[in-house]
């Protein structure tokens, strides 16, 4: 088995009195596709945000790659996000007044320098070569999600986080998106952590963990993912 890209031990997160994440020990291997399942409020989004460097844990230890996230400053976390992480959101969060290419270039800008040609080819890779200049409002949900994926992978992240990426999509689009992610993973070899409450989507991963009330209750390997 490959080296672990994420290692946590005793990771907690509490908001005031509410404990969103009970002490959690988790290891994610490099290149693994991990699905995280659970009810709303089970702490799965919190876990995702913490691993993506968007949120800080209240206690425990967390290592992603070579970085100890608890030791990083606010700006250090931002730099960690730009170098390590790509995020796909349920609501896409595309900037409404920028075209598809420009939305991708925004990620390039924060990472290093914008490069339009590269942004175009990334969009072509996700099958949006014909809609480069369209604003998000002119794209369908599936297309928007594909722009979001192009934006997430443009900086070659080691870690791709998905926060219910297919939550707003119909079945057909969901399948297309999952297929696309699988293809991209085969090429780019990033690690995927995907939060979902769709059992079918979860089975696309190598492994599924179940969270309930901030506690890891179950863990299972998926046959389909291994194939």
């Amino acid at each position: 088995m490959a080296a672990n890209i994420i290692e946590t031990s005793g990771l907690t997160r509490s908001y005031g009195d509410i404990c969103a994440l009970k002490p959690l020990d988790l290891r994610v291997a490099e290149g693994e596709w991990l699905s995280v399942m659970g009810h709303s409020g089970s702490g799965k989004s919190t876990l995702l945000n913490i691993m993506g460097g968007l949120d800080r844990p209240s206690g425990g230890s967390l290592r992603v790659g070579e970085e100890d996230l608890l030791a990083l400053t606010e700006d250090g976390l931002a730099r960690f996000r730009r170098d390590y992480v790509g995020i796909i959101f349920q609501q896409h969060h595309l900037v409404p007044y920028l075209s598809a290419v420009e939305n991708v270039m925004l990620a390039q800008y924060f990472h290093s320098v914008p490069d339009e040609a590269e942004a175009r080819s990334a969009l072509e890779r996700v099958g949006l070569g014909h809609r480069l200049k369209n604003r998000p409002g002119e794209l369908s949900g599936g297309e928007q999600q594909r722009v979001c994926i192009a934006r997430a992978i443009i900086n070659s992240p080691k870690l791709l986080l998905g926060d219910e990426p297919t939550g707003n999509l119909d079945h057909k689009s969901t399948l297309m998106i999952m297929e696309l992610l699988r293809e991209l993973r085969a090429e780019e070899r990033f690690t995927v952590i995907m939060v979902t409450h769709n059992q079918e989507v979860a089975t696309w991963g190598d492994r599924t963990i179940y969270l309930d009330d901030g506690v890891l209750v179950r863990e299972e390997r998926n046959e389909q993912g291994e194939s």
Binding site: R81, H93, V95, Y97, L98, A107, F110
Partner: protein, 386 residues
């Protein structure tokens, strides 16, 4: 595309997306900075003007009939009218001057209106020999007039399309006179709107033989000394008032100070209200765009980098507003000086820096509060839509 160009592109896109709000902010900033500019331009150019008038005024004493109200202002700065035409007796003036024993260069003036092509024009009768001595800055385009000739002020010449060599027929209450234009004069002062002809000729045409409206004197004295001489002279002119030219300037300085105070107050009020409206608009914008800000932070932008984008936006607005404010402010200044001082203000190019400075300061200061919230905004919560 490099980072700077991209930043500019992004800011332009943002501003274009919220057209209405951008226009509003621009208008507010332009208005505030235009008032500041107008204030600056008016006081700057008028102060310079007053100083210039005082300096170049060859004459330092002026004698006017007692009952005639002096037209307030000096040279080009006219704020009032002569009420009732009252005149000085030329002979008496000459006698009184001789009696006083004061050595002074003098110049006699008579003002009046003559009919020319269905309209009245202001004319002044002078002795051109005296004028050349006392008003050495007069520069005549053409030639100094001889008998039967006149000099036309540049504004007047432009209005009636007159040039050297033209003949004009002027009708007065007593006579009609035909004059050849020998040249035009431009001093930048009230002379530009007058027609000058020989004093005896005008006296004849107006039927005011031996009458004068003003006598200007150049006495070699200054300060306290000059005041004394003015007092000495005054004793010899019972029916007239001898005043120092500097006093006249002081009157216009007083008016200038009042106008400046008023404008300063208005500007202060406008600046404060503009600042708060910038704050209000910017806060709304930041609130509306909190998801965007959260996204930028999630994509790996540090707090400073995100702040830079928003500051660049404010700065660009400030810059544009400042430039617009300069243009508008120059126009306002022109309007104020035209209506209040009857003079045209200068166009001062470097005031664009002042205008842009005011506008930038306002834009950045006004968005200081919203910027702090941009800086502090937590990406997780804003992306969740809280």
């Amino acid at each position: 595309m490099n980072r700077r160009r991209w930043l500019f592109h992004l800011v332009i896109r943002t501003l274009a997306h919220r057209r209405g709000r951008t226009a509003l902010l621009l208008a507010v900033l332009a208005m505030a900075s235009s008032l500041a500019t107008a204030l600056g331009v008016v006081s700057f150019s008028m102060e310079k003007r007053v100083a210039e008038e005082v300096r170049k005024y060859g004459a330092n004493l002026v004698i006017i009939p007692e009952t005639a109200r002096l037209d307030v202002g000096s040279g080009g700065l006219n704020f009032g009218v002569i009420s009732e035409p009252v005149y000085l007796e030329q002979r008496r003036v000459e006698d009184a001057l001789a009696q006083s024993g004061l050595k002074a260069e003098k110049s006699f003036h008579l003002r009046g209106a003559l009919r020319f092509r269905k309209g009245d024009i202001m004319v002044e009768g002078v002795d051109f020999g005296e004028i050349r001595r006392l008003f050495s800055w007069w520069q005549i385009k053409g030639a100094w007039p001889t008998a039967g000739e006149a000099v036309v002020g540049s504004d007047l010449a432009a209005r009636y399309g007159l040039k050297a060599g033209d003949t004009m027929e002027l009708a007065g209450p007593e006579q009609t006179v035909k004059l050849r234009v020998s040249g035009t004069i431009a001093t930048g002062g009230e002379e530009d709107g007058l027609l000058f002809l020989a004093l005896p000729e005008l006296q004849r045409v107006l039927g005011l033989d031996g009458r004068l409206s003003t006598v200007r004197l150049l006495v070699t004295a200054e300060g306290e000394n000059l005041r004394q001489k003015a007092a000495t002279l005054q004793a010899h002119f019972p029916g007239a008032k001898v005043s120092e030219v500097r006093q006249i300037a002081r009157t216009s300085e007083g008016l200038l100070a009042k106008v400046k105070l008023l404008m300063a107050l208005v500007t202060a009020v406008v600046l404060i209200s503009a600042g708060s409206s910038v704050t209000g608009t910017m806060s709304t914008t930041v609130l509306e765009r909190s998801k965007e800000i959260g996204l930028m932070k999630a994509l790996g932008g540090t707090r400073w980098e995100v702040l830079l984008i928003f500051s660049a936006e404010a700065a660009l607005l400030g810059l544009l507003g400042g430039v617009a404010g300069y243009l508008l402010g120059s126009a306002i200044a022109q309007f104020i000086t035209k209506t209040v001082f009857a003079a045209s203000s200068e166009v001062i190019p470097w005031f664009v820096c002042v205008s842009v400075g005011v506008s930038l300061f306002l834009a950045l200061l006004g968005s200081l509060g919203p910027m702090i919230s941009v800086f502090k905004l937590d990406p997780v919560r804003s992306l969740r839509g809280e």
